[in-house]
């Protein structure tokens, strides 16, 4: 305000007193003009302070601004979707990885047979012989979403394949996530920050890693639901509207139906409400927003069969209930206070607080004691104690995405956002409104969790984008704003050479001295203008010194703006590079390059699964490590012992025991579970490091957890503590079923040369392991997948080892089993 007054005075060169009156009026009109662009800082932030030409009406400005915003948003959506299509372009339209295969399979059931069939679906092939009640043990949100889209398209006679819907669901929802983030950030600052945040979340690798085309997992829609729920919560809190609270509850319900990570919302919102309470910011708005969200949200979350009664039974959900109760008390107390004098209220308050405290504590103790509230689960403990999972639940620790995050992956996934992030959080402290408190809490909590588990980087990413956008947009608002501080640079440089007009009054006085010396040379008008400026500068520096801070000159601006633009450009390149190279691999199909640089696809998985589908009986049971359970069920359509659901630790440990025991011990286990085929992944020939020998120690550890007497991890290491597979490997290692199956006839491949395991860079002994109880059935082109058939018991009742020895002794010419293996290399 004062700045504009000074500009006005400077331009007209009249003494301050003379124009005092008129300035007031003119100033109002200037403010009226510059108010319009303030509403739309994204498009018109740079004209802030410049009077627009008179023939542009405010409506036109508003319309143009919103049109530009829509165009920008369309481009952001297009970029978000397009950058996720690398996977389809480089490979094909295929479902990725492991879990998505189950989701895809379930979605096919849903699309083919309808929702009720899906709800009652009992899958007898999974977890053989237990089976799995899929309808009751799944978060159905993802499948339901695809099913709705599928039926919608088919209703309009658009026969889109269900697979393509599943593949493209995640990119589609990423555009919606960008929109939700835009809305959320707009609540934090303004729409220009909102657009920046939308652009960030659209292409940031931390989110792309879970939402490329084909990554058909719960997270694909969950991040959108997370952001929209948070946005609606903030909107409900700002307005005190039960409508937004109810909508937040509805989207919370969707979130509960879609992802186990809903507990994050269940605790974030109560923590926010509690912090606001403790800051003394209780208001009716908080009551309305929180209570309408909690009452409807909790009830609706119990509709999902997999969640069931957990929201009223487990400790994870008790915090929300506690805050709910607390809000009722506080609201009642504030109502009572409005009717009472403060003295009487004090009396009532003391009595009631003491009695409520005793009652509440007593109730909680009784309920925990009686076992009505379940204690915390292991997955939850592992969030606080990173060593917990490794000690007590190796099955959780064995998943690579549950490992603590390595610090370079923060930079890899977020690039320059990670160092704008703290700046944005600090800016939130500047005008600490209720919604800023939310961002601060979210930032703290999510940073911690992202450090504990790699996969929780996903929940950190949105808040990083929001606060980085706030920081960057604040920076740009300041530096793009062309309004100069009080002293116009031209006058200044013509009047004196030093030209450095700074804020404090001393400098201004000195300036005035130089100005009066130069006065005779300059025109009279100019000198009077200058003294006016100085007067104005003096008076304003006395009244409000902060107003005088500012940026002079285009060069200072350009340095900062170009730097910011440069960072943004690098960010785009980084995101594109990371997306294309790191996150777009389906992991079902592997890519390598030929010597001439062209791409070579390694398609062993599908080759082997297709072999299973075509060459084994429909009811055959395949045993493999649990990682491949969903893929076998999805692609080979055969029964599996264990899969990625990992709900039954003992069953997994059984498989681990079979894999890590010698053949004689493993065989009864295999027969008891009706196993027909055993599938192992072997990367030694190709150098594919994610193979079963590398995962082998986890099998040992998990088996050891259940049978500590029979399986001991140290036995699988050499006496010097090394993990080796060459001739120095330990006996337990060499005799284990896993080792034998992996290296069966591996050395023969190299003829007389050294057989080298390229993953572990070790020489495999010439005389490889022999197999008596299983026989090789299939080995894929690059040996990645090897399938062994479990032999039936000997018809004469001998054990298979002696039967084999007998057969080999008698008929030496037919000693080798007929191999289906293709000629390799």
């Amino acid at each position: 305000m004062a700045i504009h007054t000074q500009v006005w005075r400077a331009v007209y060169g009249k003494s301050a007193d003379a124009i005092e009156k008129s300035v007031e009026n003119v100033d109002e009109s200037i403010r009226a003009i510059i108010c319009i662009p303030r509403l739309f800082p994204f498009t018109f932030g740079h004209v802030d302070g410049l009077p627009l030409s008179n023939n542009v009406s405010p409506t036109t400005v508003a319309n143009t601004a919103s049109l530009l915003r829509i165009v920008a948003f369309g481009l952001i959506s297009a970029a978000a979707i397009a950058s996720r299509l690398f996977a389809v372009i480089n490979f094909e339209s295929i479902i990725h990885e492991f879990d998505p295969w189950f989701n895809y399979r379930a979605t096919r059931v849903l699309a083919a047979k309808g929702f009720y069939e899906f709800w009652n679906w009992f899958d007898p092939t999974a977890w053989y012989p237990l089976g799995r009640v899929v309808g009751g043990t799944v978060y159905p949100g993802l499948m339901a979403t695809s099913g709705v889209i599928y039926n919608f398209l088919h209703y309009f006679n658009l026969p889109v394949d269900i697979r393509n819907i599943c593949v493209l669901l995640a990119p589609g929802f990423s555009a919606l996530t960008a929109w939700a983030t835009y809305m959320f950030t707009t609540e934090m600052k303004d729409s220009s920050a909102g657009l920046l945040a939308a652009a960030f979340i659209g292409i940031v690798p931390g989110y792309i890693s879970r939402s490329v085309a084909g990554s058909y997992d719960n997270e694909a829609i969950a991040i959108f639901l997370l952001m929209i729920t948070f946005y609606l919560w903030i909107a409900a809190l700002k307005q005190g509207s039960a409508l937004y609270g109810t909508l937040a509850a509805v989207f919370y319900f969707y979130m509960v139906a879609a992802w186990g990570g809903y507990a994050f919302i269940t605790n974030m919102i109560p923590v926010h409400a509690l912090v606001l309470l403790l800051m003394g910011r209780f208001s009716g708005r908080l009551y309305v927003a929180y209570c309408s969200w909690y009452a409807i949200g909790t009830l609706s979350s119990m509709q999902v069969p997999f969640v069931g009664f957990q929201p009223v039974r487990t400790s994870e959900h008790m915090g929300a209930l506690g805050v709910f109760g607390l809000l009722q008390i506080v609201a009642f107390a504030s109502l009572v206070r409005s009717h009472l004098s403060s003295k009487q209220f004090q009396d009532l308050l003391t009595v009631s607080v003491i009695s409520m405290g005793l009652l509440g504590a007593g109730a909680f103790i009784v309920m925990t004691y009686k076992g009505w509230i379940a204690p915390w689960t292991g997955r939850f403990y592992s969030l606080w104690d990173t060593g917990y999972a490794k000690k007590y639940i190796p099955i959780i620790a064995s998943v690579s995405e549950h490992q603590p995050t390595a610090w370079p992956s923060f930079f890899m996934d977020l690039q320059f956002l990670i160092f704008l992030f703290p700046a944005g959080v600090v800016l939130c402290f500047r005008d600490l409104r209720d919604e800023h408190v939310f961002v601060i809490i979210y930032a703290v909590v999510a940073s911690y969790f992202a450090g504990v588990m790699v996969r929780l980087m996903l929940t950190l990413t949105p808040v990083v984008c929001v606060s980085a956008a706030v920081a960057l947009s604040t920076l740009l608002d300041i530096y793009v704003d062309v309004a100069e501080p009080a002293v116009p640079e031209n006058e200044n440089s013509s009047a004196n050479g030093t030209g450095a007009a700074t804020a404090d009054a001393k400098k201004a006085k000195k300036n005035a001295a130089v100005g009066s010396q130069a006065g005779p040379n300059a025109a009279a008008a100019a000198s009077s203008t200058l003294s006016d400026i100085v007067n104005a500068a003096k008076s304003s520096s006395k009244s409000s010194p902060s107003k005088q801070k500012g940026i002079w000159g285009a060069d200072a601006r350009l340095v900062i703006i170009l730097n910011a633009i440069g960072m943004l450009v690098y960010f785009v390149f980084h995101c594109t590079w990371v997306t294309a190279n790191a996150y777009s691999s389906p992991s079902v199909v592997l890519a390598s390059s030929n010597p001439d640089g062209s791409q070579h696809l390694i398609d062993d998985y599908r080759e082997a699964y297709y072999w299973l589908r075509m060459n084994t009986p429909q009811d055959a049971v395949v045993m493999s490590w649990w990682d491949y359970g969903y893929q076998i069920a999805g692609m080979a359509d055969r029964g599996t012992l264990v899969d990625n659901n990992t709900w039954n630790n003992t069953h997994i440990a059984t498989v681990g025991k079979a894999m890590s025991s010698p053949e004689e011990i493993a065989y009864p286990i295999l027969r008891q579970h009706d196993v027909d085929y055993v599938l192992v992944i072997f990367g030694g020939l190709l150098g594919y490091s994610g193979d079963d020998i590398n995962k082998f120690l986890w099998m040992v550890r998990i088996a050891q957890g259940v049978w500590p007497d029979e399986i001991q991890e140290p036995n699988y290491f050499t006496p010097t503590g090394e993990y080796r597979v060459d001739e120095r490997a330990s006996d337990a290692m060499k005799n284990s079923l896993m080792y034998k199956m992996s290296y069966y006839r591996f050395a023969e491949l190299y003829g007389n040369g050294n057989a080298i395991d390229r993953v572990r860079n070790q020489n495999i002994p010439k005389i490889g392991p022999t197999l008596d109880y299983v026989e090789e059935a299939f080995t894929s082109e690059n040996w990645i997948v090897r399938i062994f058939k479990v032999r039936k018991e000997d018809p004469l009742g001998r054990d298979l080892k002696s039967a084999n020895a007998f057969a080999q002794g008698k008929k030496r010419k037919r000693s080798k089993p007929v191999s289906r293996r293709r000629a390799v290399v």
Binding site: T246, S292, L299, F309, Q328, A331, S338, H339, L348, V351
Partner: protein, 119 residues
């Protein structure tokens, strides 16, 4: 829930003043809403004591019924706070009509889930 229940010699006079102030200051519309709130509290207490004392057997039915009273209570309490003339400054964007529409919408969604949950 109700600090009123805390009986103390010191606070009896305060409770009396509170009651007098309430009857004289509150408009009849708000009293009408309050009557509904009291009914909901009684209904909730009844259901809860049945669950604790007799049986919680159809637990989903209990949860459905109890949640409907609790949910309706907080929605009505929200409506009461939004239409309370004292709170005009707090709810700048929520008019009386808007408050009632919000209330109806929330109640419909709530009872949709309740109905689904009764089983």
């Amino acid at each position: 829930m109700a600090p009123k229940s805390a009986s103390s010699i010191k606070s009896t006079s305060a409770v009396q003043t509170l009651f007098d102030a309430y009857t004289s200051q509150t408009s009849s519309r708000l009293k009408f809403i309050d009557a509904f709130l009291v009914f909901l509290i009684l209904s909730g207490v009844l259901q809860f004591s049945y669950c604790v004392l007799v049986t919680n057997f159809p637990f989903n039915a209990f949860l459905g019924g109890f949640s409907s009273t609790v949910g309706q209570f907080v929605l009505t309490a929200s409506l009461r706070s939004q239409v309370n003339p004292e709170n005009k400054g707090v709810y700048k964007e929520v008019s009386r009509e808007r408050a009632f529409a919000d209330f109806v919408f929330g109640s419909i969604v709530l009872h949709f889930f309740v109905y689904n949950f009764l089983g």
